[in-house]
Symmetry: C2
Subunit: 311 residues, 2 copies
Amino acid sequence: MIARAVAGRVQPPSTILGPGDDAAIVAAADGRIAASTDMLVHGRHFRLDWSSPVQIGRKAIAQNGADIAAMGAQCSGFLVSLGCPADTPVSVIDGINEGMWLEAAAAGSAVVGGDLVQSSDLVISITALGDLQGRAPVLRSGARVGDLIAYAGRLGWSAAGLALLLAGRVRTGHDLVLDAHRVPAPPYRAGVEAAEAGAHSLTDVSDGLCSDLGHIAVASGVGMVIDPERLVVPPELHSAATELGVDPVDWILTGGEDHALVGTFDGLGTIPQGWTVIGRVEDRDGGQARPVTVEGRIGSGRTGWTSFEST
Amino acid sequence: MIARAVAGRVQPPSTILGPGDDAAIVAAADGRIAASTDMLVHGRHFRLDWSSPVQIGRKAIAQNGADIAAMGAQCSGFLVSLGCPADTPVSVIDGINEGMWLEAAAAGSAVVGGDLVQSSDLVISITALGDLQGRAPVLRSGARVGDLIAYAGRLGWSAAGLALLLAGRVRTGHDLVLDAHRVPAPPYRAGVEAAEAGAHSLTDVSDGLCSDLGHIAVASGVGMVIDPERLVVPPELHSAATELGVDPVDWILTGGEDHALVGTFDGLGTIPQGWTVIGRVEDRDGGQARPVTVEGRIGSGRTGWTSFEST
């Protein structure tokens, strides 16, 4: 199976030694490597009855690649471990592998090593490696009072797709939203471009905008104020929300798993193309108690986005 | 749980950024990083009724660190993902974590990042990173006719311990052998020393001496001839074998999971201290058909070590 998984695959120039020996060797030209790992479990992070094997493979890589982009780094290799029940069809393993290679290529990289074992659950564990290309990593702790908050990528799409799936509303008109849940589309390049533009802080939206901005706020000792007027609801989300009778802004504020990037930039500087400003960084001690505030929505009693208050 | 796992832990100087942000950053001073990943599943690679959580954590790190040593590299960081059933006692997670940190320290390194998720099985996935320190990696494909085969570390101990556990012979006299099964002791430094001494090929013994030497033989296009007279049976293995009525040399030739290192060295050069010569590399086309031959034992009909013939 491992031989099948790597047969005919091409490695990028940064792969000094690909799969087949005891370890892979990846270039780390500036003398540092960024590395992040995540585990995905069937029934918890993905479902074979909701997603194709290719989509599952893509999601697993995307989720990890987004962590590298969130440091302002370029993905330079993925190591993948797959635990499969004994009765897993070969086509499922092949599909997951295919999806991993597709998404690794989308991130400008490749699968450089892996392992395949038997397990009860279908379990995917990925480690993503990244190249900082000489730049300082963009940390969660770098936000400063006066910064502008901006994001790149999609917000709320995955949550909308999940809501449709849970409600059994899988009709054709919602394809884009459903696929957004099945395969996130992290804006890999936007991470590098944010770092090049001197972003002060950066993370990816895995848990939800308010929650993940809360991580930056806490790490930086600042407060985040989101202006909901700046949150544009795409027609696809509007349509899904109308069908389900919910407020799409809740998906945007609290929906996870889209792996957008969110960060803060000097309020007097230039915001890179592709980034949308949605708020500002304020002094946490000077007027607001919560790490993240959404102007005009606190206390509205809406469900789904109050959890960030405890971040 | 993740905060508990990293609280109070000290990172080595090679860790530029430890756990807590989207990715860790590890030094890769010579512009390259070695990386290897393995997944371990409860009931298949370890058992909570046979091993303590600390031992399980150590084994998981050791197995991966050995892959780095087998490239001739120094371990420079471990990323760990843990999937746990919902009813896993916190003490088990704490123990596994403690074992991981202990073994990472034994390998001269530390845990630099990780993930914790819920799963049906207890699943551990590790990625080990390594520093080649300016040396060329020692590959499986580098063995040359005329080389001497040598190993460092323990051979057959884990298999002997497993045989005792399966037979229910867990009396005190076998502590060392039983513990060898629970926690392998890869000779991490020996990998670096072999590379420094100019070893031509290197791998770790995860499947068994004959099987893993077979990987070198096939990758290098050579034949391996083991002289069984050179295989010293330690008294602990002799005692366990006598109790079970088996030949301890079979454990040495075919027992996996000790993560000894085995490689080949120039036949006219110096073999580093700590390495034991056990055979020679021959021309595969010139007289022997099998990748690995054990002198005087082929055709003896013994079980347990013939499988390498199909490598």
